[in-house]
Amino acid sequence: MTLKILYFARLKESFGRAEEDFDFEGGTVAELTAALAARGGAWAEELAPGRVFRVAVNQELAPPSTPLAAGDEVAIFPPVTGG
């Protein structure tokens, strides 16, 4: 299935892209971030186990166990720092 993935702030700069369409044959947020980390380099570094990042699915914060469906908008970003 194809997911739309968005990146923000430091992760957008580290990965050198703001968004992409990603073909994904897994089921959950945790499996998606593991698949992205397998690209190596900055992906492996930023998405390594123990690194702190947040994921939103269809614009709602989502824990790693959240299931994904075709067409979902998934955003990956650092902890927020507004206010």
Binding site: A9, L61, T81, G82, G83
Partner: protein
């Protein structure tokens, strides 16, 4: 009048106008406002500007959800949250929260709650710009998470 509003914008806001707008209700006995502005130190010293990034779409939803949560906890007459994005210079206002209620305790508590949750749940990110042109993403603070967490399980 829209009694509960959120806005994300690059333009400056007029805090006095928002206070006046929310005060125009005979049931309002208390108005509390908070303004956050760009200061010259943060994770680094000598900050001359901030660049504020956000997640269009999710940001507005997250702010509206935080306002709904506050309304469920306290009897509020009105509230507004305005958060600016883009490049902001030293001394520029970043965020405005105004809460109107019948009584001051509800207004103070709700305003603090809105800021605590905004800082930990709304998808904004700050980058500090130094006088030498250096740029550095601000790190999230454990103290902000603790401030939001203290509301959990506490009755209004």
């Amino acid at each position: 009048m829209e009694r509960f509003t959120v806005a994300v914008q690059t333009a400056p806001f007029d805090a006095g106008a928002e206070l006046a707008r929310l005060s125009a209700d005979p049931a309002v006995g208390a108005l509390v406002s908070f303004t956050g502005q760009v200061r010259d130190y943060g994770d680094s010293d000598g900050v001359v500007a901030l660049e504020l990034e956000h997640y269009p779409g999710m940001t507005e939803k997250a702010l509206a959800a935080i306002v709904d949560d506050a309304r469920a906890r306290w009897p509020l007459s009105a509230a507004t949250v305005i958060h600016r994005v883009g490049r902001l210079a030293l001394g520029d206002a970043i965020v405005l929260v105004v809460v109107a209620a019948g009584h001051r305790r509800d207004a103070f508590a709700a305003a603090e709650y809105l800021m605590d949750y905004l800082k930990t749940r709304a998808p904004f990110w700050k980058k500090e710009i130094g006088h030498d042109g250096s740029a550095r993403w601000v790190e999230a603070k454990a103290s902000d998470e603790a401030a939001a967490d203290r509301w959990a399980g506490e009755e209004a």
